[in-house]
């Protein structure tokens, strides 16, 4: 069976037909389009029992067999978990986007791109081949670019989109290099094969290089410090996109990659330190900066950065407990952050602003949204009975049992989580309590399509929190085992009894509430340290972009200075260089075919033609130049006549005569020849042109030195009379064998004549100069 392949292909198909369906069905189209993610979700749900005990389902199709690239998909615990997050939230986002962009002229583009992203992301999740994974990975980057830039008439939108594409695209290229190294060392691009050869890879001298390159891909995609800056700027996207790509799914692709790579590249000191360090610093910095933001969406963006850091840290630790915590937090974060983003979108949609200072007291106007936001914030703050509480308990447990730097990690963790609690309180209270404020729009409750999504996600957070083990246990354990094969299944419980972990939790919540209470005073007193602002990684990005552009400008200024003769010079130089280079590589030329005598008349004709050409080049008299050109033309027609081509000779002769006529007709109006350049330039041009001429001669000699083996000419010679009833083979080729070419040629000639006529007419209309 090939369920996974079908799912991915259907997604791209759905994206392709979405615009047509939208114009056909109008607003109801979302109910049709939602069938794809919903169906995918159900299909994956039904598959869960088959993979619960660590089974892996693999589908494989040969793609580029010569390179060992195949299109292969696998379904294991983590891909089922992430696949269900992608499809489940995707279904809600389709409905939400339908409400958010209701009446928008470009809504069909939104649907198409969302479905395109969905299919690409599912491709990443299911990929069992590194090259396939890379391709889908880049497809998610492209769809992210197009979605961030959805409002492409806004400059900030385009800038944010381009930044996200450049950062994740560069990371993706590094990752591809890492994958290729892995494939070279491991002898295969199949993930399952590579897992069985993990020891070889880890012991290889290229291991640090491949790890670094793959981590670059993961870190840029998952916005780890110092590559985090693109994510807040990606908030230029319409909110459904931010909720879906930039919090719940795409940014998790990096974390997903880390989890996938852990059984291949993980378990070494390099892995532990590099990944944990990046994760820990991102976790803290994200939470810290989030606390200072005033735009609700940017607040959520930085908490997303922090959450991604947490996930990275956990995978860096790599212990059984850490993987358990990571797999749960993966889901928990998607649920509450997706919900909170959609809530933010609803607030923005209904009030016209999302600045924290300008909204307040919305609980009466938007009761459902308010309840959703508050309950989702509980999960974010990690309070019981939400699923977020469970995940935070596991998180602390993992940090307490960390193999190294346990105390430091706990301190950082508590501080980050306290900041998260503070931010959660901010998000839950600021918009909905306190005084009503004047907003650009008069607030109403959002339409059903816009509260259905967040409410559903929040409800799941609550229900899963209460009934964790029966609903989620199997899938979660399968996900843990797929990342950490030695892990033993455990039962998830909401309440573990009073212990040090619970004490830590309680302390965190208190600290967080204190931070929220004191926020205004803290903001007034403690500014983020100056060096942090000065050392912003984004500055480096801008410097790099500006440097690339100015370098390009300087290069262009040299090679394309607007002077035609310089363009010709550079083109000729490059051709000459590569031409002679390949000639040197080819070795000596066999001149055997070139033997034979030389006729005196040939030499005379050649010399006369050469003289004519030199005269045309040298003289500044228009009449002499045109006459000299005529000498060259008549000389060629002599050569044609002497070597068995009377048709050519006659044609060339007639054309030459007519061309002299043409020149004479406009001679009076031809420009006087002025060629004011220094002698140095003349010599330089002469040398370059001379080299080009020598190259042509040498190439011709080489071509002629090879024995001629044509099957075409003998066929024409044999068939000319018998099949085409003509004895002049040249003419028969022109009017019969290759007649269609000739038809094309005379058509071109007719167009040239009309072009000449049009040029002259245009001139006379504009008045004579």
């Amino acid at each position: 069976m090939s369920l996974l392949t079908l799912i991915v292909l259907l997604g791209f198909l759905a994206a392709a037909v979405a615009p047509a369906l939208t114009s056909l069905l109008g607003r109801r189209v979302k109910f049709v389009l939602v069938l794809y993610p919903a169906g995918t979700f159900v299909a994956l749900w039904l598959m869960v029992p088959q993979i619960e005990n660590g089974n892996v389902i693999v589908e494989s199709f040969s793609w580029v067999p010569a390179l060992g690239v195949s299109l292969s998909f696998l379904l294991d615990g983590i891909s089922a978990l992430v696949g269900m997050i992608v499809s489940g939230i995707g279904a809600l986002i389709i409905i939400y986007a339908g409400g958010y962009l209701r009446g928008h002229a470009q809504i069909s583009r939104m649907y198409a791109l969302l479905l395109f992203f969905m299919a690409s992301m599912l491709g990443v999740v299911f990929s069992a081949n590194l090259i396939g994974l890379f391709v889908f990975w880049e497809l998610t980057s492209i769809s992210s670019y197009l979605l961030i830039g959805f409002n492409h008439e806004r400059l900030s939108s385009r800038a944010g989109a381009l930044q996200a594409l450049l950062v994740t695209g560069l990371g993706g290229l590094a990752m591809l290099a890492g994958f290729i190294l892995m494939g070279m060392v491991g002898g295969s691009y199949e993930i399952t094969e590579l897992i069985s050869r993990a020891d070889v890879l880890r012991a290889h001298e290229f291991y640090p290089a491949m790890l670094l390159l793959v981590l670059l891909g993961a870190f840029t995609k998952s916005a780890q410090v110092p590559f985090h800056f693109w994510l807040p700027n990606a908030m230029e996207a319409p909110t459904p996109v931010s909720a879906y790509l930039h919090s719940a799914t795409m940014v998790k692709a990096g974390v997903f990659l880390l989890a996938r790579m852990m059984s291949i590249l993980g378990g070494t000191d390099w892995w532990h330190y590099a990944v944990s360090f990046a994760g820990a610093s991102t976790m803290f910095l994200g939470a810290f900066v989030a606390f200072y933001q005033s735009d609700l969406k940017r607040v959520l963006a930085f908490t997303t950065v922090s959450a991604l850091g947490t996930l990275t840290l956990l995978l860096g630790l790599g212990t059984e407990e850490a993987v358990r915590a990571a797999m749960l937090f993966f889901l928990v974060h998607a649920l509450y952050k997706g919900a909170l983003f959609m809530v933010t979108g609803s607030i923005d949609h209904e009030t016209g602003t999302r600045l924290l200072d300008r909204i307040g007291g919305l609980r009466r106007a938007m009761p459902i949204t308010a309840v959703t936001a508050i309950v989702a914030s509980l999960s974010m703050a990690g309070l019981p009975p939400m699923l977020g509480f469970l995940s935070k308990e596991l998180l602390y447990e993992a940090k307490v049992q960390a193999p190294f730097a346990s105390f430091l990690l706990i301190s950082l963790g508590v501080l980050s989580n306290a900041l998260m609690v503070g931010v959660a309180a901010l998000v839950a209270f600021r918009p909905f309590f306190g005084k009503m404020k004047d907003t650009p729009k008069h607030p109403h409750e959002a339409p059903w399509s816009m509260w259905l999504g967040p409410a559903t996600l929040t409800l799941i957070s609550l229900v899963f929190g209460l009934l964790t083990a029966p609903l989620l246990g199997g899938l979660w354990n399968a996900a843990v085992i797929s990342v950490h094969p030695e892990a033993s299944p455990v039962a998830l419980k909401l309440w573990h009894g009073l212990n040090e972990i619970v004490a830590l939790s309680a302390f965190t919540v208190l600290l967080g509430l204190l931070l929220f209470w004191m926020r205004d005073r803290i903001l007034a007193v403690i500014r983020p340290p100056a060096f942090l602002r000065a050392l912003k990684a984004e500055q480096i990005y801008h410097l790099m972009i500006a440097g690339t552009l100015s370098f390009a400008k300087r290069v262009t200024a040299v090679f394309q200075d607007g002077l035609l003769r310089h363009y010709v010079m550079f083109v000729t130089l490059v051709v000459v260089m590569f031409g002679f280079w390949s000639l040197l590589a080819a070795g000596p030329i066999d001149l055997a075919e070139m033997s034979g005598g030389l006729h005196v008349h040939d030499v005379i004709i050649a010399l006369v033609m050469l003289g004519g050409a030199l005269m045309a080049a040298y003289s500044n008299s228009r009449l002499v130049v045109i006459g000299s050109l005529g000498i060259v033309g008549y000389g060629i027609s002599m050569i044609f006549l002497l070597y068995g081509a009377p048709d050519l000779a006659m044609t060339q002769f007639a054309v030459e005569t007519l061309s002299v006529v043409l020149f004479v007709l406009i001679l009076a109006r031809l420009p006087r020849i002025k060629d004011i350049v220094s002698n140095v330039v003349r010599v330089r041009d002469g040398v370059i042109a001379g080299l080009a001429g020598i190259l042509l001669t040498v190439l011709l000699v080489i071509a002629t030195a090879e024995p001629l083996s044509s099957r075409v000419s003998p066929f024409y010679s044999a068939a000319s009379y018998l099949e085409a009833k003509g004895r002049n083979v040249v003419n028969v080729i022109l009017v019969d064998f290759r007649g269609v070419d000739t038809l094309g040629e005379i058509t071109v000639l007719a167009i040239a004549a009309v072009g000449v006529f049009a040029l002259l007419r245009q001139g006379s209309k504009e008045g004579k100069p």
Binding site: G562, L564, D602, F640, T651, V655, V730, V756
Partner: protein, 125 residues
């Protein structure tokens, strides 16, 4: 040896053509293009071998072309190229005529943009 001679001639025509493309006078540029056209035709002709001076035309009672004659295929190619070259040449001449008539310059160094150069009578220098 004849092949070598004509290969050298084609190379020389090509070199002079390229040299003329790098001149400032637009008329020289046109001449350069035409010379390169001649060089190309001569190249094809030489590459098709100069083994026989007999045209690829059958005698009155023959039903097949009996070797050795010149190769008809390059000839057909060149015949097309000559006539197309004529069309190109006519177009070029008229184009130059227009450019000079409109801008009053024949210096390619002055033609650095696609916009109309409004020079008025300044060109009298």
């Amino acid at each position: 040896m004849t092949g070598l001679l004509f290969a050298a001639l084609a190379g020389a025509l090509f070199a002079i053509g390229i040299y003329l493309l790098m001149r400032r006078s637009i008329l020289k540029l046109v001449i350069g293009l035409l010379l390169i056209g001649h060089a190309a035709n001569l190249s094809i002709f030489t590459a098709g071998r100069l083994d026989s001076p007999i045209p690829p035309i059958m005698t009155q009672d023959a039903i097949q072309l009996n070797a050795p004659t010149a190769d008809p295929l390059p000839q057909a190619l060149i015949l097309t190229a000559i006539v197309i070259g004529f069309g190109l040449q006519a177009f070029l001449i008229v184009l130059v005529r227009r450019i000079v008539g409109r801008n009053g310059v024949d210096d390619t160094d002055e033609m650095t943009s696609t916009d109309i150069v409004d020079r008025g009578q300044e060109d009298g220098k």
